[in-house]
Symmetry: C2
Subunit: 338 residues, 2 copies
């Protein structure tokens, strides 16, 4: 392989001069600089990443720690991953994808071996076992998903509480007074998926304030169970005029459920979901929905993380950013039929 020594020889300078000419960390005469650049070009020199990391203690790599649970909705995950990976690259970093089941152990291993400059944690749980390890690590981290104790950590998430409240507000404003909310399955909550109850709590609070009758349910996360769930729930509440979905599988199943019941949205039922725009497009979901903003959350987390990595001044206060809900109106909400 071609090293900086080869470049230096070809340019007729010392290795340190070649190095400085490339890094620009000290002034170099234009002629020397040009010769070095030409040598780099003709030899096709690229610095050895391991050697550079050893010398500088910087790897220009970020670790992305996902939690890929077989009973969760997989397709949504890719948006976060690509948001992180693409933004990292734009900022000059590569991404190490870590999919191990034991995220805490993986984080420790990768941190200790100094493979990366920082961590992005996806799908963060209420009491996430990765957090104590992250706090003890010398590298900074950014979370996508709000844990119970975010103290001192940079956190990015959709504001699920405001989302629940916003959904109720929106339907109430149209005249709805009886609404059903179908959430992710209970085991997601038990595993620490706090966003489920955060949205439900926000909805509950606002419903109480406005005198709206709200019925909340957990739904399955896969087919065909969720289809049956929806039928049962709609049977139970024949007078409800609004349906809120915090469950991608439910959203995917709803079109055929409605068709089977001879119902249409918004004529028979106003529907608001919570999923990504991309998801809606892929499956042609005709429901207005609060965008889960996966791509954007991933990107923001990376930006903040790189900020921390590159600013020695590590004393900046932790950044907690909850994105306000944005409704993508696809025409599935209207005033209830009189």
């Amino acid at each position: 392989m071609v090293t900086i020594g080869d470049v230096a020889s070809a340019a007729g300078v010392s290795r340190s001069t070649a190095s400085y000419a490339l890094s620009g960390k000290r002034t170099i005469s234009p002629e020397v600089r040009l010769k070095v650049l030409q040598a780099v070009e003709s030899l096709g020199y690229t610095p050895n990443a391991g050697a550079r990391a050893l010398a500088t203690s910087q790897t220009r790599v970020l670790a992305l720690l996902g939690r890929f649970l077989s009973d969760e909705f997989a397709p949504a995950m890719l948006q976060y991953i690509l948001g992180v990976s693409n933004r990292a690259r734009e900022l000059g970093y590569d991404t190490l994808l870590v999919s191990e089941d034991d995220g805490a152990a993986a984080l420790k291993r990768i941190s200790d071996s100094r493979m990366v400059d920082g961590f992005v944690l996806l799908n963060v749980a209420e009491r996430d076992t990765r957090l104590p390890v992250l706090r003890a690590a010398p590298q900074p981290g950014a979370l996508v998903g709000l844990p119970g104790e975010p103290d001192g950590l940079d956190v990015f998430d959709l504001d699920f509480d405001a989302t629940g409240s916003f959904m109720i507000d929106t339907l109430h404003g149209l005249g709805h007074r009886e609404i059903v909310l179908v959430s992710q399955p209970e085991h997601v909550v038990e595993r620490g998926g706090a966003y489920v109850w955060r949205l439900a709590d926000g909805a509950r609070r606002r419903a109480d304030e406005l005198g709206v009758s709200l019925h909340t349910y957990f739904g399955s996360s896969s087919q065909p169970a969720i289809g049956a769930d929806l039928h049962r729930i709609l049977d139970t509440h024949p007078t409800a005029t609004g349906l809120l979905l915090n469950n991608e599988a439910a959203a995917a199943a709803l079109p055929s459920v409605l068709a089977a019941r001879g119902m249409t949205a918004p004529d028979d039922l106003s529907v608001i979901g919570r999923y990504s725009d991309d998801f809606a497009r892929t499956f042609s979901l005709p429901f207005s929905a609060v965008d889960s903003a996966a791509d954007e959350l991933g990107r923001r987390a990376v930006e903040q993380l790189v900020q921390r990595i590159e600013n020695r001044a590590d004393d900046a206060p932790a950044h907690l950013e909850l994105i306000a809900p944005v409704l993508h109106d696809r025409g599935s909400i209207a005033a209830p039929r009189p």
Copy 2:
């Protein structure tokens, strides 16, 4: 950070002895070995990855190069990624996820900087611009997806030709004589998605042999266009009794299309798709389908790649593995109505 020097001091031995005690590359007395191990344990020593890479020219990292095209069907991609990442980890490797648009440039950059020991290329196109770069690279690679010129490269893919032939065979055996095939959109083919015409060719050949009338179409890759496509196609061929889908979006759209037409499978139409089991489960697709085996292809590619990395004997012949089609019967095929 704690280095092997610290371990050596704590154990009262030299750094080389500490290193050998850990690698096992030369015989060490049991007592010394124990002392080293205890020092490692109590100090919490983990080797510095950059230093090790520099010394050994091995990184224990694999690069995973995807092609994430906005107009392709995203959800299917994650299965390949996790197959690769999980299998890599099982074999002691981490995975660098590369999502840059210019895969050839990315491959060159990563290869030159010696960040990884090998490459897995996903979604390989007929004439893939990454291949010449890979062939010139010192690190080995494995492809998921069969290119036009696979010479010398390890390739893993579903046998799409056999899949097309198998689909026709299956329906013909049940008595079908007029069949429609809906493929991915034409632009996927133009971009090098050779699997589209490989399946179509296999189907065509077998249909001709068996005297089956086969109508082939490109369909859109997203909603709602593909729904309209399906309606138009079914309108055009009212006497067709079999439908083959090599297009995930079409499979996702078909349930509502059939419902809208008052049709059911297999009573009015026998249907065979080609998509992953996971995909079928998530969206409750009730169609028998040839499994696209994403997870397995990713895993096999990694196994072969690691084989190449770890066997100095680089002279093993290229490995071309086309997985035979396996039908997951979900009850959507039967004899046509008389």
